[in-house]
Structures are given as structure tokens and as C-alpha cells.
Symmetry: C2
Subunit: 167 residues, 2 copies
Amino acid sequence: MAPPPSTAVPPLAALVVRILTFICLIISVIILATNTIKASDGVNEAKLKFNHFYAYRYMLSTAVLGIAYTLIQSAFAIFHVSMGNRIGGDGLVQIEFYGDKIVSYILATGAAAGFGLSVDLNSLPVNGSDIEDFLNKANAAASLLFIGFLFSATSSVFSSLSLPKRS
Amino acid sequence: MAPPPSTAVPPLAALVVRILTFICLIISVIILATNTIKASDGVNEAKLKFNHFYAYRYMLSTAVLGIAYTLIQSAFAIFHVSMGNRIGGDGLVQIEFYGDKIVSYILATGAAAGFGLSVDLNSLPVNGSDIEDFLNKANAAASLLFIGFLFSATSSVFSSLSLPKRS
């Protein structure tokens, strides 16, 4: 399928990248949101959930925002692939350009905040094997969010390349 | 000063944003690198430095990388402002586009990793006023790195808008 002359990037490629972003983000949210353990140090017992940590809460927020944005853009991309032209023309290309940039930055910060906390929590001496499990799952969620960010950064490169000709 | 026809963004504006990025990053590095306290809980005494935490070490690395990249790009921007044309033509515009994107993402993750750790360290019950000082300085460094990232993201928008016409 040859790309139509109105874009620099084949619309099917743009759609595939959006779908990959969506899949990574949704799995990341599921892993993070279901990450609950009962931690015990022999004396005290406590339930540990992701929302006890600000960094993981922020991570979840960024992933949910990313999912919402990616869904909307996927809808436009599906229209573009099936109809062969864009909704909204060059105005929407501008919105997509800034939207992709902002959302990909937000996803990058979400993954980094999660890693930033996990890595140093991991090096604390208080860890039990339950807590290690918890941190490993949090790291898995952050990794998937990071992969989602990479796809979203790819979308951002695509939408930059699709910008209308400068005057 | 009217912009030459070969760019969408006035070169002086691009240079000013580079310089602002540089200033923010250099202050962030100074604050972070000089952030040392002697923490004491009454029994044990220990010297606390930024490099005891992986997240802060990563933060410093990203800021240093950002400074190096911004210096190089500032040199090109100064040439552009003073001579009125670019070194390297459209090839360099491409490199600038991808370079700006990658470096601004790296700076975003650096700031977020720092915040991700500080915010949750702050909520731990073990804090003394010395440790609060330490975390406040780390937060100040992360904030400046974040502002530096915002300028660097602006550079990235500029370099996207300056991309050569698509064929």
C-alpha cells in the first residue's frame, strides 16, 4: 500500500505504532494496579499496594492518560487508513504534533519516576522476598510503560515528519 | 531581525532557548553535586551524598549529558545568528531534530527519576531536619533540571518546525 501524497509516513505504520503503544500501556496498568502483597517482618504485617507510593500513583496516572490519548489518536489513524485521507486536515496534524510530544514526555516521566523509586527501594536493606516481588512487579510495569513511551516517541517523530510544509 | 527564509524559527530565539537550557542545567548540577550533609539519628552518624542514590546519580548524568549537547548546539546557533546561515544545511537540521528529541526525553526522565525518589523519601517517617534539607536541595536540583527540560523541549519543537519540506 503506497502512502498517499499528503503524509510523509504511511498511515498503516502510524496506526500499528499507536496500537503497540496502547497494548504496552494497558498491560503496564494491569500489572501495576494488581500489584498487592502482604508484607511481614515477623512482628508487623501490612498490606502493600502501589498507591502507597506517590511515584507509582503518578506512573499509573500517566499510563491512563496515555491510554486515553492513544485511543483517540488510534481512531483517527483507523479513519486515515480506511478512508485514505485525514479528518481535520492540517489543523489536526498540528494538534497531533503537539499532543504526541506532550504525551510522550509525560509517559517518559511516568516510567522514570517509577524506576527512580524502585531502584533505590531495591537497594534498601529492609527487603523481604515479598517486597522484592512487589518491586519486581513495579519494575515490570515501569519497563512496559517505558516501552510504551518508546512507541509513543516514534509516533511523535512520525507526526513531526508529517507537519505541513513550512511557508 | 527578520528570520532568513531557510528556517521557521528566528535563530536568535533558538539561541536564547539553548542558553536558558544551559543555565538551568549547570545550576542543577552544582546544587546536586554539592548536596552533602552529615545525618545523625543520635546513635549513628553518616555522611549523606547524592551519589548514595541511584536516582540522583542518574539525574546528574542526564544533566551533564544535556550540558554537553546544549553547548555544541549553542555553538551552531551562535554561528547561525552571526553568519545568517546554518552550518551543514539540511543534514544538520535532521541531526538537530533527532538530537533535540532524544536529549529532551533524557532530561525529562532525569528530572522525573529525581522527583520520583525524593517525593517518597520525603514521606518516610525517619526524616530529620538535616535529611529534609538534603531532600529539599535534591528537589531544587530536580526542579531546575525540569525547567531545563522544558526549554530543551522548546528547542525540540523549534527543530521540528525547522525540518526541511517533505517531498
